[in-house]
């Protein structure tokens, strides 16, 4: 793909609280290049999740332009946006968000139900994705039979299975112990290096941010250029 994967120009996002407009993102311009691994940091409530959700096409900006994977998300209708999501972004949540009634394999298969694939093909791809996150031995386990780290890896497999160009993760290690967090981060690292995925991770954790090639800071809805850290060693030294 030529051009940036994410191209945000003067994006504002505000939420309505009663009759008051509550600005959350103020004039954000940000590009994410193909094969980039970007970390988005910032204090709680600064709008990180809001920004990531916009990139994922979960919601539309209040103003500004947003083009992701070549598609202008500000102009897409609801169903168009849904179909676009199915093929172009993989999203990893802090709380995994696996469906409890489905096994690991079925959870990973879920996005493939939206594609035109045979049952056998869906199964095969789901198994491949689970092999990628080293969970081939947990295909038929239900989420409650898995550890947090394993659940998150299933969630990553689900995000990967339809081979989207862009992988978004909102505090993927926020609910994990240090060891599981390390595994998940290594996994993202591998996906970035070996599968050339473009990755944007929201994190509070400097260790997690250190895996990224570029770190961007958000403060009260504003990207602060002075806080932009370009190299990982600086992130670590900036950690409290």
């Amino acid at each position: 793909m030529t051009g940036p994967v994410v191209e945000m120009r003067s994006v504002c996002k505000s939420y309505r609280r009663g009759d008051r407009e509550l600005p959350v993102l103020k004039d954000i311009s940000l590009c994410v290049e193909p094969r980039e691994f970007l970390a988005l940091m910032g204090p709680s409530g600064s709008g990180k999740s809001t920004l990531l959700n916009l990139m994922a096409g979960f919601d539309r900006p209040t103003s500004g332009t947003l083009v992701v994977a070549g598609r202008d998300l500000t102009r897409a209708t609801g169903p168009e946006l849904a179909r676009w999501r199915a093929g172009h972004v993989g999203f990893v949540f802090q709380l995994y968000n696996l469906l409890p009634v489905l096994t690991a394999r079925e959870n990973v298969e879920l996005p493939l139900l939206l594609a035109n694939l045979s049952r056998a093909e869906r199964r095969r791809r789901a198994e491949t994705a689970l092999a990628l996150v080293a969970l081939s031995d947990r295909l038929d386990h239900y989420p409650h039979q898995l550890s947090g780290g394993q659940e998150q890896r299933v969630a990553i497999a689900r995000a990967l299975v339809s081979d989207p160009p862009l992988l978004l993760a909102d505090e993927p290690t926020g609910d994990l112990d240090a060891e599981s967090a390390g595994e998940v981060l290594s996994l993202l690292d591998d996906l970035h290096r070996e599968l050339d995925k473009t990755i944007v991770v929201v994190t509070h954790d400097p260790v997690a941010a250190a895996r990224a090639r570029r770190v961007v800071r958000l403060e009260k809805g504003v990207l602060s250029p002075q806080a932009r850290v370009e190299r990982r060693d600086e992130v670590l030294s900036a950690a409290p």
Binding site: P79, R83, L99, L102
Partner: protein, 382 residues
């Protein structure tokens, strides 16, 4: 159809709730099947009653107030009456377990002329019935209930009259309306009761010479007994059947009204159950949408789940009604609607009702689910 496994798994997640909800739909369907079956049965009875020249004379206020047997002679003198019978309804018990049986005592000789049905008794059986004063004719359902065969000696114990009637089974009553009834000789009942207790007559079926004569005959008979202790009401047989049926119809209307209320209540129950289940899954709905499911697909998933839930209840209810009505010959007690079978149409109606319940109950929660916005629903914590 790709989504069916997901739909099924979601449904089975709360097994007990699903089972209870489905059962409530089953109750609903059961009521409907019973109603439709009953209605069809009554229609058949009225249709069976052909337009023969039969007039029924009965007590003015109720056919359950017996008339004196002596009326028969007076009625026979009314010009235009060509044959008459006198029917006494008998409620009794039979068998080892004292099961309730219904039947009638009548005058065998004129029964074929005045009976409610034309081909109700095979001629050979009828001859045997006329010849033997202690003979009994039995409907096939009753015969099956007690395992009686032709030639058996059967005993009917009267419940209103303290008598024991030992009879010889000589044949069957084949009319559907009489399938759970028996018929014996009036003279045999009189003999069993003794000279002091004359059995009252519940109705006199009469054969009239022509259709044109019917209104005059009816007027003359009822005038004959006007202002007496036991006034009469005469009407063509079809009307008589209709009045029996209308009694049942009144009951049915009440049941129908209650049934409607029950259906509404159950729609609310299922709606509530689905709404709770959707609410619990708010976050999951958001995740489905995040993965690329459209609002419409989410709507279909929830609606499909509600329909599946309701229709599994419908199948259950249909199966139960079939088992109850078809296998055992459901007994509505005394009265003409003693026995009936489930109509396939009634089962289809039951399934259609459950589908309707599913759609009605599922649409609101489904609409709610389809309108959930991802970013808000993702913040939803149980």
């Amino acid at each position: 159809m790709k989504f069916f496994p997901l739909l099924l798994k979601n449904l089975l997640r709360r097994r007990r709730r699903a089972a209870l909800t489905a059962s409530s739909v089953a109750v609903c369907v059961f009521i409907l099947v019973a109603l439709v079956t009953l209605t069809t049965y009554m229609k058949n009875i009225i249709r069976e009653t052909d337009s023969r020249l039969i007039v029924i004379t009965r007590g003015r206020y109720s056919f359950l107030d017996p008339l004196p047997y002596a009326y028969r002679a007076k009625i026979e003198h009314v010009p235009g009456v060509v044959a008459s019978n006198a029917v006494t309804l008998i409620i009794g018990t039979a068998g080892d377990k004292d099961e309730v049986v219904n039947g009638m005592a009548l005058i065998p000789e004129t029964y074929l002329d005045t009976g409610p049905q034309k081909e109700e008794i095979p001629p050979r059986d009828f001859d045997a019935f006329v010849r033997d004063r202690s003979a009994i004719l039995v409907g096939p359902v009753m015969a099956r209930r007690f395992g009686w065969k032709i030639g058996d000696t059967v005993t009917i114990r009267g419940s209103r009259y303290p008598v024991e009637l030992r009879c010889r089974l000589v044949g069957y009553l084949t009319a559907e309306i009489l399938s759970d009834y028996f018929a014996i000789h009036r003279s045999y009942l009189e003999e069993a009761l003794g000279p002091d207790r004359e059995p009252g007559v519940h109705f006199f079926p009469l054969k009239v010479e022509s259709r044109e004569a019917i209104p005059r005959v009816i007027g003359q008979i009822d005038a004959l007994f006007a202002n007496s202790a036991a006034e009469t009401k005469s009407e063509p047989q079809r009307d008589f059947m209709m009045s029996l049926a209308s009694l049942a119809r009144n009951i049915r209307d009440v049941v129908l009204a209650m049934g409607l209320v029950i259906v509404l209540a159950i729609v609310l129950v299922v709606t509530n159950s689905m709404a709770i289940s959707v609410r619990e899954r708010t976050r999951e709905m958001a995740v489905l949408k995040a993965l690329g499911f459209t609002d419409g697909q989410v709507l279909k998933l929830v609606l499909g789940e509600a329909i599946l839930l309701a229709m599994s209840g419908g199948v259950l209810g249909g199966a139960v009604s079939y088992a109850i009505f078809a296998s055992s010959g459901f007994d509505l007690g005394s009265g003409p609607a003693g026995h009936f079978a489930v109509q396939p149409l009634a089962l289809a109606d039951g399934l259609a009702l459950s589908l309707l319940i599913g759609v009605a109950a599922g649409s609101f929660p489904a609409l709610h689910a389809s309108r959930l916005r991802i970013v808000e629903a993702l913040r939803w914590v149980r």
